[in-house]
Symmetry: C2
Subunit: 436 residues, 2 copies
């Protein structure tokens, strides 16, 4: 089952998908040369929006938390990609410590950790899960929403290494665990805890990939140059796969400082979008998304259709915008062109999410939301989306089929997601303290 | 549908599979470190024999010709592995020329070429098929057994490069084709043609991987050291996955020279096997396979159960043994411990063949033969086998399942096939003229 694309205006997108199909060897060759210069992140997921006239990434997650939503039929694809990724970070080692998020009560998230660990185990790693949550003081078996057990063990710091102590769980005796690398599945929204500072082990992704230092605008700056080069390669309008954006610093929603900057940027962005909509005959109303420049989980996100929408926010809206995950305060925002999602299934809107390991697309899923509009962010807390696993991998276009045949739409998703992945690689290279 | 293992004596094998499952992280880690020192061939297939008490490779093909027999459900796995392989040989190029075998009348083989080209196209390469057959003097569209078209173009040598000339096929205008690399799917049984000598393009596999220079005994010499190290790692008897072998040079079946060497080696091998059979309580009769040390396609192969079998061969048997593919004369033979195949399906014997690209297992199939015995080679000309694609990939053991559950049997196949692949990597390294 694949969501329908419910828009009359899919001319530009069909021609975009068509030019991707025709240029496939050129595209893959271009990616290959890019990966010679830029090391792909260990893993990533990219949220896409498909407006029929435009297909663009709106968020790139370097600590993906939905491995449980991937199609189990393609598990072997993830395993093979994990083998490639593992060979790069720790060819000579076999132990890997995973550090998940601290919110251990989200049993769906726990299922993601089970699945991620499973992929890495199948890739031949000896995997254990080490928690840095203050609640986990001894080895604890938690249960996922579907009844799978997950053993979390408290991480112990010895000198500059993270270890797990020897433990006895039921009848099983676990030995002490000292791994070559530590895989973070924790986006560090709450800052970098001391226990993770100055480790001699290889931390993947690096600490500066966490939200305590990462900025969405740095990512989309890098995406600008990637999208420009790719669009020149294909001879297409870059706007078809790149959303406009602006930033405002020094925002304090509660103290109402920065409102003018925000309103001005919103206005100029809406103006630019209007011109493009006119060029392509799009009749929808332009909108922008205002969100925290650092952070995740769809908190601190607003859909805005007029500069007035950001002036004189009421207390509730200001509270909503001012704090994101882990109580992190919002002081910088990114104002990003909103991309309608015109994919829907049974009247619910759907947004594709593409998963990658190293530089390989391993699958993806749709976030399907019944309670949300086509101009709203679907990765929001509270209102649970229903995941719908991609029924085909994103790597096998059917060149004989129509541009919008499922495998071809998925191929286009894989290409755009890899463009965002490449932007993340460049972003991380630029943010690496060693390069500064 | 998976063949049954029809033997009462599968104790040693079950314990072998079990130790592989338990040691999975250790095994994968060991492979990873091996691949740091030894470059995997671009592609390979390995014929295995599963006797229930023993699981061993009996032939490693560096020019695999059965890509059409793989399960189409796992095509994406081949594509991803091909991406890895291509990145190693030609990261900066996008064109690849495939040179297939000259026997253009085997419409099943042609189907293999279509599938191989398809995998490489899906991996993003610009692929064309160049023939070195004297019959192909102009671009020729052939048809596979199932009606797929395959365009063969005559290869043109310009200086030290192989190219394809510009051509017009129907309404399609093909431009001149100059590729970074040339992929051989031709095992050079008939010797190395002049047109392939001293090319400046990257030839994959290298010319010395062809049967005009390769020797099975060099491969199994390398396999001896691989199997020894692996068996020490697992603490198992190396014999459980390694067939004994000997060689005789200076054989002339027609002039009846070399018979004494052959009979003596047959006798000593049978003796060694007998001792092992007694050790493991195997009641079958030991046998050996006598085959050409260079060459392929199951010509020049004999099942031998007594030294007398190789003395006083009649004219027909001598003729059969003396010449293999492309009229190549047999002067050296390898005498290899025969491994019974106790896998069968509907009363037909079955032999697994595992396919790999770079160092990744991408799938495999069973050769299913109704007209052959459990002690005969199943890759023989004339008597067509029926391919039965593996229904699962070889990379996903089910550690909770019984050792002989299908995914676990397949995992063991993948491990043993990779041992043979590693032996091929070492063999090629040793045979590389640059290392001599």
């Amino acid at each position: 089952m694949v969501p329908h694309l419910t828009t009359a205006l899919n001319g530009p997108l069909l021609s975009l998908e068509k030019s991707m199909l025709n240029a496939m060897p050129k595209i893959e060759h271009w990616f290959r040369t890019q990966w010679l210069d830029h090391a792909a992140p260990f893993y990533a997921s990219v949220d896409l929006r498909n407006a029929g006239f435009k297909l663009a990434p709106v968020d790139t997650n370097l600590f993906p938390g939905g491995f449980n939503n991937l199609n189990p039929d393609f598990l072997h694809l993830s395993v093979q990609a994990a083998m490639v990724a593992v060979e790069k970070i720790c060819p000579e080692a076999s132990r890997l410590l995973i550090i998940p998020e601290n919110h251990t009560r989200n049993t769906y998230y726990l299922r993601n950790v089970v699945e991620l660990a499973n992929i890495l185990k199948q890739a031949g790693m000896d995997v254990r899960i080490g928690s840095i949550s203050p609640e986990i003081t001894e080895p604890t078996v938690l249960e996922t929403h579907d009844g799978q057990p997950l053993l979390l063990e408290p991480v112990v710091r010895e000198g500059n290494r993270l270890k797990l102590a020897a433990a006895k769980i039921g009848d099983t005796q676990l030995s002490e665990f000292d791994s070559c690398a530590v895989l973070l599945n924790n986006d560090l929204s709450g800052g970098i805890p001391d226990i993770l500072q100055n480790l001699e082990q290889n931390l993947i992704p690096p600490l500066y990939a966490g939200w305590s230092t990462r900025r969405k605008s740095q990512h989309f700056d890098a995406y600008n140059s990637v999208a420009r080069e790719f669009s020149e390669l294909l001879g297409i309008d870059e706007w078809l796969l790149n959303p406009y954006f602006e930033t405002c610093g020094e925002i304090d929603f509660n103290a109402r400082t920065g409102e003018d900057c925000l309103a001005a940027k919103v206005e100029s962005l809406l103006e630019k979008i209007k011109i493009k909509y006119a060029e392509y005959g799009v009749t929808q109303e332009p909108f922008v998304i205002v969100k925290a420049n650092a952070g995740t989980y769809g908190m601190g996100i607003m859909t805005v259709k007029s500069p007035d929408d950001v002036r004189g926010l009421n207390r509730k809206a200001r509270n909503k915008m001012s704090v994101i995950k882990e109580g992190l305060e919002v002081t910088e925002v990114i104002i990003q062109e909103g991309v309608y999602t015109f994919e829907s299934i049974n009247d619910a809107v759907a947004e594709p999410v593409v998963y990658m390991m190293d530089h390989y697309v391993i699958g993806g899923f749709y976030r399907v939301h019944t309670g949300r509009g086509i101009d709203e962010n679907l990765n929001a807390p509270g209102s649970h989306f229903v995941p719908l696993a991609f029924e085909k991998p994103c790597t096998l276009p059917d060149c004989a089929g129509s541009p919008d045949a499922t495998p071809n739409r998925f191929y286009a998703y894989g290409v755009v997601a890899r463009l965002a992945l490449l932007a993340a690689a460049i972003e991380l290279q630029e943010q690496d303290p060693l390069n500064q």
